[in-house]
């Protein structure tokens, strides 16, 4: 059996299992890998078949059907009524915007407020002064925060410093950097990479950024282009404007120093 067919059968086995029972973490990761390779399949490939086969059992054989206790029905109705109240409140809020005069008035107020906020916080993302606040916000929202220091891979960048702060649960984080040379955005841009060897064969694009001043340290948010399971490492390369999907450029900075073990045997010098 050729390798491609074997992989497809493995994927179908996992999709069938998923429609019948919870997958283990490893099985889920494997399924996601295989779905990347066979994008024509979706996780719910067998769900409707299993659902209809299941429903048919209860409809065709009365002995399999159990009555929902009245106490449970009452609980469901109670929950429904409280959820509906919330939903009605939301609807009133939406209707408010349907009244043109009100909507315009509120929109103008919001626009003014937003403009003031933008002036006040236009440098929030990149301003190093906000580091403690940003870190505190991320810490508050996630229990799994990790922090690694950057290490230069060549002597040329040995004056660079900073760290990566990341949360797998929150799927977000940011990097702090100082000492990285300014770039010309029309010629090249720095690109962040996230190494997640359990879920992705290749490092995941974490977004591009520019260094517009060499005088002060800066903060750059990480924007992963794919979901991250467990980030084991990070890297920065210098790429063409807009970035690339798979890098062939040498690593500038890495965090941690040594590249984490990968099950895919990726080379160490480039991404």
């Amino acid at each position: 059996m050729d390798r491609e067919k074997e992989k497809l059968e493995q994927l179908l086995d996992l999709l069938a299992m998923r429609s019948l029972m919870p997958l283990s973490h490893t099985e889920e990761l494997e399924m996601n890998h295989l779905l990347d390779e066979f994008p024509e399949y979706t996780p719910d490939y067998f769900e409707s078949t299993a659902a209809i086969a299941d429903a048919s059992l209860y409809v065709h054989d009365i002995n399999n059907l159990s009555s929902m206790p009245d106490s449970v029905k009452s609980k469901i109705l109670g929950k429904f009524n409280s959820e509906r109240k919330e939903s009605v409140a939301l609807k009133i809020f939406k209707n408010f915007f349907n009244a043109p005069r009100m909507a315009w008035a509120l929109t103008c107020m919001l626009a003014i407020g937003t403009s003031i906020s933008m002036i006040e916080f236009r440098n929030y993302e990149s301003n190093y002064r906000n580091l403690p606040v940003k870190k505190a916000v991320l810490e508050f929202a996630s229990d799994d925060l990790i922090e690694y220091n950057w290490f230069a891979q060549t002597d040329e960048f040995c004056d660079c410093s900073g760290s990566v702060i990341w949360s797998d649960d929150g799927q977000r984080g940011f990097i702090t950097l100082a000492g990285l040379p300014m770039n010309d955005p029309t010629q090249n841009q720095y690109q962040i990479w996230i190494v997640d060897p359990n879920m992705h064969a290749n490092p995941v694009d974490g977004g591009v950024f520019d260094i517009i001043t060499a005088d002060a340290p800066t903060i750059i948010p990480i924007n992963p282009k794919l979901p991250i399971d467990r980030a084991k490492g990070f890297a920065i390369t210098l790429e063409q404007p807009g970035g690339v999907v798979i890098s062939e450029q040498p690593l500038i900075l890495t965090a941690p120093k040594e590249r984490p073990e990968s099950s895919y045997g990726i080379t160490q010098t480039t991404i």
């Binding site: 086995d13 069938a16 919870p22 409707s48 399999n64 929902m68 206790p69 929950k79 429904f80």
Partner: protein, 207 residues
Amino acid sequence: MGSSVKNLDLSKKKERSVNKTVVILDLIAKNHPGSFEMLIEKYGNLVWSIGKKFLGNQSDLEDAVQEVMIAIWKSADKFDPNKASEITFISMIARRRFIDYLRKITKHKSEDSMDDDNNNIHLYKESLLNEETDLALVKSAIEELDTDDQELLNLSVYQGYSHSEISEILNIPLGTVKTRIRRNLMKLKDTFATNKKQSTVIQFKNG
């Protein structure tokens, strides 16, 4: 020109036929008073029965069933009768939610049996059967499977045993269980799709 008029006519007939069978989710989507109570009356037992298979613990089952019914209410506007019947849509939401819930609590199916109360079940059974032609189609698809495969389907889909439990019960390797279940579902999916296509043609022909 004549052909396109005919096609239009057929699609209207199909729409009428679909609309005739779909009631509750449409009503819910339109915020019709009492529609949620109707949902509980018609599908409450089905959701409860599916949940019992996945969750052995009464308290977990009650919590999960509440979540499922609310999820169905919230998803009613996503229901498309041209893609699936109402019962399939509801079963899909229920099964996915129960499986997710099961994973969340990381508990395995227990053999605890809970008190069954089969009062008034005839009514529900009859109302479901009358409205859902999909179920008749899937029944014939299941009957086309051989006896061993039907047993495997019974253990996995209906009784909710895991693959490794089935492997122990039937004393066959785990890999074989996986492959056979996958093949059965695939066969069912294909047969069901073919039967549905034929059934739609017959419905069109009969007007």
